[in-house]
């Protein structure tokens, strides 16, 4: 019944099947929306956050989606500025994933603050010394850029594109997209960095505090670097999941391997920088404040050394090596393992930089604080995931997201018809 909206020549599942899927995911979304309204109308007492865990699950989710959404700015930078033309086959999808991630981040922030109606104060009463101010400005502007990058894709819908104005608008927007890609890369550099700075500037918290360059702590650069490194992993992972669900090959191996290779080198260089940062912090910064490494990873029920080893070695060094090595990169199984580990690694890094900071005691007579999120927090954290699935499903069904789709599935479709 929606055939007229589906891109020409593309094969899609029957509308009722599509709607059943949307309804199932929509139910999860409504559960999250209910929890969101509880938080807005009853307040943050609906959460299990407390005065020790003022930054908790939501802020982790916020930082994590922004990190994995980094695939959009980095792929855009490579495609439009460095002219890596093969990435044209995945750029649309990278932008949609970025759009979902950033809109989710803004939604999470809107739920997370104690006075949502005063959210605009961050712009009106901006404190230029605060990393969070920089985050708010850059994140909002970059979301606007992502929207601009997404619009031409929407305008290419079969029916919308029949309107001459929209057709020309989409064409012209494509023509100037390099400007927005450059702007997006600039903005994303600063807000990813600022998110790293959020933790790094907390000089009262030796677990988070980092020395650095001028006003920026090391974490500023590490966050930008890690988002550029692991963001493409998430783009590849979501592409893989979409391919599995649709049962179609959507992006050619050449493009996938190229992005995986770039990601692999970014991860490898990042993890070297991260290891150097960790060593300097453990042996210079922390001891200068009276702490040894063991203080941050012992005497508690959760935050052991395992978390450091998992983040740096298992989810950093390993995916980096797997992706820079040609044979493992071009092997679908090891490549998938590498991108999954990469995504877990960057999410774990954000977890550590948000929650472990709060849990570590700083006063010599204080104790570790642990925390378990409430169902409302979990539901509102899953909410963006459900929203993302629905948006991807709708975009895939009605927009020409994957330029290679017809070409890659032509023989399979022909065989099916015969």
């Amino acid at each position: 019944m929606d055939d007229a909206l589906i891109p020409e020549g593309a094969k899609r599942c029957a509308f009722p099947i599509f709607m059943i899927g949307i309804i199932i995911v929509g139910a999860v979304l409504l559960w999250g929306v209910y929890a969101m309204f509880l938080c807005w109308f009853k307040g943050l007492n609906q959460t299990n956050m407390n005065d020790y865990y003022g930054f908790a699950l939501w802020i982790w989710a916020d930082l994590a989606v922004i990190a994995v959404g980094g695939g959009a700015f980095f792929t855009g930078l490579l495609k439009y500025i460095f002219k890596v033309d093969d990435l044209k086959n995945i750029i649309n999808f990278a932008v949609i994933i970025g759009f979902i991630c950033y809109s989710s981040a803004l939604l999470i922030l809107a739920i997370d603050i104690g006075q949502p109606l005063r959210g605009w104060f961050i712009f009106w009463h901006a404190n230029v010394h605060s990393m969070l101010t920089e985050v708010a400005f850059c994140l909002s502007c970059y979301f606007a850029v992502l929207t601009i990058e997404f619009i031409p894709n929407i305008l290419e819908n079969r029916q919308v594109n029949k309107v001459p104005f929209f057709h020309h608008l989409a064409h012209n927007m494509h023509g100037v997209m390099a400007v927005f890609a450059a702007t997006g890369a600039f903005l994303s550099f600063f807000h990813q960095g600022s998110l790293g700075g959020v933790a790094g500037v907390m000089f009262g918290r030796p677990f988070a505090y980092r020395e650095g360059l001028l006003i920026w702590p090391w974490t500023f650069f590490l966050f930008t670097w890690s988002a550029a490194a692991f963001g493409p992993c998430f783009t590849l992972l979501v592409t893989k999941i979409t391919e599995m669900i649709t049962g179609k090959k959507l992006v050619g191996d050449k493009t996938v391997n190229l992005l995986a290779k770039i990601s692999g080198w970014m991860i490898t260089t990042y993890i070297i920088a991260k290891i150097i940062d960790t060593i300097y912090w453990a042996f210079v910064t922390a001891p200068s404040m009276g702490f040894k490494l063991g203080h941050f990873y012992s005497n508690n029920g959760f935050y052991g050394y395992w978390i450091l080893i998992t983040e740096v070695i298992l989810c950093g060094v390993v995916p980096g090596l797997l992706l820079i090595n040609k044979s493992t990169r071009e092997n679908p199984a090891t490549r998938t393992i590498a991108i999954i580990l990469g995504v877990i690694g960057v999410c774990l890094n954000r977890w550590v930089m948000v929650l472990q900071i709060m849990a570590v005691p700083v006063l010599s007579f204080d104790t570790w604080a642990l925390y378990i999120p409430s169902w409302q927090e979990v539901a509102t954290t899953i909410l963006p995931v459900a929203y993302g699935i629905i948006l991807i499903a709708v975009a895939y069904r009605y927009l020409p997201v994957f330029p290679q789709e017809l070409e890659l599935n032509e023989s399979a479709d022909t065989a099916a018809q015969n």
């Binding site: 020790y52 104690g114 006075q115 009463h125 969070l132 907390m202 010599s364």
Partner: protein, 285 residues
């Protein structure tokens, strides 16, 4: 560092050898500042205690066990180098918390705070509290609320203000009478309530004030750590987490070495150097 000698730098000294842990400071603080409480106060991690009394022990078994009670208000940090960039002030995205260069007091503007809680994360002393609930007072109790302090609504951060409203009242009186504020005209509620006289409050910049005389603040940066300014020249006096460079204006005093050592984190062998640098120190611990 503020050069103008006329500016105030209000601070506090708490004698931990005098403190009995009675909690009068906590009660008077809550009463004076309309601090709300919960119906069920069993979970202390979301209770609001502008003044919180910690119980510390030397960790030794009987008969050598020693206990000390450590009252902890907001430390009103001056920040690295005492430049006013306190851990909480520099991070607040909406300038809802501010450093008073004329008083040394870290303020909180409740009507501007939108509850991002970054300041709470940045404060190593856990001196900042979030209003997880709207305050509710038992029927009739609202009549006891102080008219000089605004109650705070749900979703904003609050903390000890060194009873700033008392400063405002004293300042207005002094302005009308064209004179300086006297030491005893501006005293915090906890200071006046402490039955043991363990808390002393006044202007650290004023040599006539008792806090100045006890602390003897060093006007120069610590040669071992330039982030630290205003270190006490009294070997019995210390600040919490002093080496981080937060430069608190709340000083603690104790004859006992283990108590002074508990004020900060030290690696093996470091305390001996710090102790020596501080000057002569007793070893009651």
């Amino acid at each position: 560092m503020i050069e103008n000698k006329k500016v105030h730098k209000f601070g506090m000294v708490i004698d931990l050898d005098k403190c009995t842990g009675c909690g009068a400071c906590m009660v008077s603080c809550m009463s004076e500042n309309n601090v709300p409480f919960k119906e069920d106060e069993s979970n202390k991690k979301d209770s609001i205690t502008w003044m919180r009394v910690y119980k510390l022990t030397n960790g030794k078994s009987f008969p050598e066990t020693e206990i000390v009670y450590l009252p902890r208000p907001c430390q009103h940090c001056g920040g690295i180098g005492d430049h006013g960039h306190s851990p909480c002030v520099s991070v607040c995205p909406a300038t809802a918390t501010d450093y008073g260069y004329d008083t040394g007091i870290v303020s909180q503007i409740y009507t501007r705070c939108f509850g991002c809680r970054y300041c709470m994360g940045a404060c190593p002393y856990h001196a900042r509290y979030f209003n997880w609930w709207d305050p509710k007072w038992p029927e009739g109790m609202e009549k006891y609320l102080s008219p000089n302090v605004s109650p705070r609504m749900r979703g904003v951060v609050e903390k000890c203000s060194f009873c700033y409203h008392r400063y405002q009242l004293a300042r207005e009186q002094a302005i009308v009478e064209d004179r300086e504020i006297e030491e005893m005209e501006y005293q915090t509620a906890c200071t006046t309530a402490c039955p043991a006289g363990a808390i002393v409050f006044g202007d650290l910049n004023n040599p006539a004030h008792k806090v100045h005389q006890i602390v003897k603040p060093d006007p120069h940066p610590d040669p071992m750590n330039h982030k630290v300014v205003g270190k006490s020249r009294n070997p019995k006096v210390f600040r919490l987490l002093e080496r981080l460079g937060t430069n608190p204006k709340v000083y603690y005093m104790s004859e006992r070495e283990w108590v002074r050592k508990a004020g900060d984190n030290y690696l093996k062998g470091e305390w001996e150097n710090v102790k020596t640098h501080h000057g002569a120190s007793s070893s009651h611990g």
